[in-house]
């Protein structure tokens, strides 16, 4: 039984007291898709993503991830997803190999799997020599690439990336997106938030959130046509100007 959609959301809402961070958003993400989740700071992207990952309980609405309900089966969802948060979340006081081993282990991968895949991964990232280096000592770009690799190490169906390329140089960003394409080619659905509008062009489909609502959702080319803009920048600016919420 394969679900048609990797993610579905219907009127998904999150309120913190009087404040509605996410206001009735609805969308579907197909399997294998690279889905871009855009929005200004404080638009509600991270909150929406946290609800889908089972880190935050929705106030209203429904959503499924990998075919499971976010209310009832959130622990089951967790087996099928990878997550890379805005904050860097590998253990800086563990080595590269120890981090991979730890996360592989708690997702229940076998020792053999961990050993083989670690070798392959380090080779792929050209980090063979740094296997026993503390993560603390790695440059930021490498850390981010490593964090992404760890997030998909247990071969999840869907990976959630929360501003994965923040603060990273253009070359590394490019490499990072190559990795996203590789993951997508393996059939992993990618759900990614970003600030960089050039990155939005790399996505199959893009949604733009303004003040907790999804204001636009389509492929980048269709959006540009719809808003008669030359680039995603133009589209974003037209929508973001409507925002009433200040940053925060």
């Amino acid at each position: 039984m394969q679900p048609d959609y990797a993610i579905t959301a219907k009127d998904l809402t999150k309120r913190f007291g009087d404040f509605t961070a996410v206001d009735k958003i609805s969308f579907e993400v197909s399997r294998g898709e690279i889905f871009g989740f855009l929005g200004a700071n404080g638009a509600g992207k991270t909150t929406a993503m946290r609800m889908l990952c089972g880190l935050s309980l929705p106030s209203a609405g429904t959503a499924t991830v990998a075919g499971f309900d976010v209310y009832r089966d959130n622990e089951r969802i967790k087996k099928r997803i990878g997550y890379m948060s805005q904050k860097f979340s590998l253990y800086e006081d563990l080595t590269v190999k120890e981090n991979i081993r730890f996360y592989g282990g708690i997702y229940g991968r076998s020792d053999l799997f961990i050993k083989e895949q670690t070798g392959y991964l380090l080779q792929h990232l050209r980090l063979e020599k740094e296997g026993n280096t503390l993560v603390r000592a790695l440059p930021l770009g490498w850390k981010q690439k490593l964090a992404f690799s760890v997030a998909i190490f247990h071969e999840p169906d869907i990976v959630f990336l929360d501003e994965p390329t923040g603060g990273v140089d253009p070359v590394t960003r490019r490499e990072f997106w190559n990795m996203i394409y590789e993951a997508s080619a393996k059939g992993i659905t990618v759900f990614v938030t970003t600030h960089y509008l050039d990155e939005a062009e790399y996505c199959n489909r893009v949604s733009i959130m303004v003040d907790g609502k999804i204001e636009a959702l389509d492929s980048p080319s269709a959006l540009k046509q719809q808003f008669s803009a030359a680039s995603m920048d133009g589209v974003f600016l037209q929508l973001a100007r409507k925002a009433k919420r200040t940053e925060g």
Binding site: L55, S56, S85, K87, D93, L94
Partner: protein, 372 residues
């Protein structure tokens, strides 16, 4: 179970990789155990005494010599004007004034009664109170000695006096170190246990790694066990280290069995670590966690029966100490170390501490949420 293995591996690696934590765990307790019992002395020495002697007789000098010889007092000034002594008190040089009046010798010999005046600087209450009491004892002894010398046969019948002789059971020489050292060891274990667990988890919250953990299918109780077990083991190591210091430095060997102590300590640590976990689930930052555990520790320590006797507390305060795990362990430590009590003797305390452990850890597991 496999998850737990990976969690433990990670925790131990992190602990042993952090030199600051290692220092905190091993060197601090040793130093504190060596320094604190020597400093935290119940006996009052070096009480500064000012003497105003208006009499200048052989008897008055003998009295002053006797006081000096007791070893508790330090004579800061010996003068003829009370004003001078008062200045010494005002300048905080003296704690006590002893004023010997004119005709002290004469009155003592002829009238069979003499008066002296003791004035106490009560700013440092303990010192003044104890100093006053010591001085009274010395004066009484002196009085007795003088009377015996002069009254060859009683002209009047001497008042019958009751002499009290003491037998200090279980600690015959009243060596306060025998109850201070095990007590301080309990405090150290409590502080290190509760603080380390609280800080450890809150640190993961601050760095953001806890979110990465929460998004994995890890089970709550596995995660908590993964945090508890390493610190539980460390706690027992510290206890062992502490008894090593107690034996080498102070020659303290428990009268009872180590098995009794370790059984109790094992359960006690679970309770204390549970408290640390509980603090960590409510605190968002390391500062918050530190402040909360500091607050709790102050109460635990001051109402634990080590520095102040629980028996002499008011009824409501005694009631509070019943919720203080420290008081039970200090009790047990003294029973086992001094009296040689066994498991059956401490079963009541053991039961209560086990209850603490269950309640605190259940509470911690319930309030730890993977999803907000």
């Amino acid at each position: 179970m496999r998850t737990l293995k990976f969690l433990l591996q990670k925790e131990f690696r992190q602990i042993f990789r952090d030199p600051a934590i290692l220092r905190l765990i091993f060197i601090m307790p040793v130093i504190q155990l060596i320094v604190l019992p020597l400093a935290a002395d119940y006996e009052m020495k070096n009480i500064n005494l000012a003497v105003t002697d208006h009499d200048h007789s052989a008897y008055s000098r003998e009295l002053v010599n006797k006081i000096k010889a007791s070893g508790y007092f330090k004579l800061v000034t010996y003068n003829e004007a009370y004003k001078q002594s008062l200045t010494a008190i005002e300048n905080d040089q003296a704690d006590l004034i002893l004023e010997i009046p004119v005709h002290f010798e004469k009155d003592l010999v002829k009238e069979d009664a003499a008066k002296v005046f003791v004035s106490i600087n009560a700013i440092n209450g303990t010192k003044a109170g104890l100093g006053g009491a010591y001085l009274q004892t010395i004066l009484r002894d002196y009085n007795q000695a003088v009377r015996e010398k002069w009254i060859q046969f009683p002209r009047i019948k001497l008042l019958p006096t009751i002499d009290i002789t003491y037998a200090n059971w279980f600690n015959p020489h009243m060596n306060y170190k025998y109850f201070m050292v095990p007590g301080i060891l309990v405090l150290l274990l409590t502080m290190i246990g509760a603080n380390l667990t609280a800080i450890n988890i809150v640190r993961e919250k601050e760095i953001g790694t806890i979110e990465q953990i929460n998004v994995t299918p890890i089970r709550k109780h596995h995660f908590i066990l993964g945090k508890l077990i390493p610190f539980w083991i460390l706690g027992l190591v510290i206890l062992t280290l502490g008894f090593g210091v107690a034996r080498i430095v102070y020659g303290i060997i428990p009268a009872g069995s180590f098995v009794t102590i370790y059984v109790f300590a094992a359960v006690y640590l679970l309770a204390v670590l549970g408290l640390g976990l509980l603090v960590s689930t409510y605190a968002a930052t390391q500062q918050q966690a530190m402040l909360v555990s500091f607050f709790i520790m102050m109460i635990f320590i001051l109402m634990g029966g080590l520095y102040t006797s629980i028996d002499s507390m008011p009824e409501w305060a005694k009631w509070i100490t019943r919720f203080n795990p420290v008081s039970y362990f200090i009790d047990v430590m003294r029973m086992v170390v001094l009296k040689g009590s066994g498991l059956t003797d401490i079963s009541r305390q053991l039961g209560i501490i086990a209850l603490f452990a269950v309640v605190l850890n259940t509470w911690a597991i319930l309030s730890y949420r993977k999803r907000s």
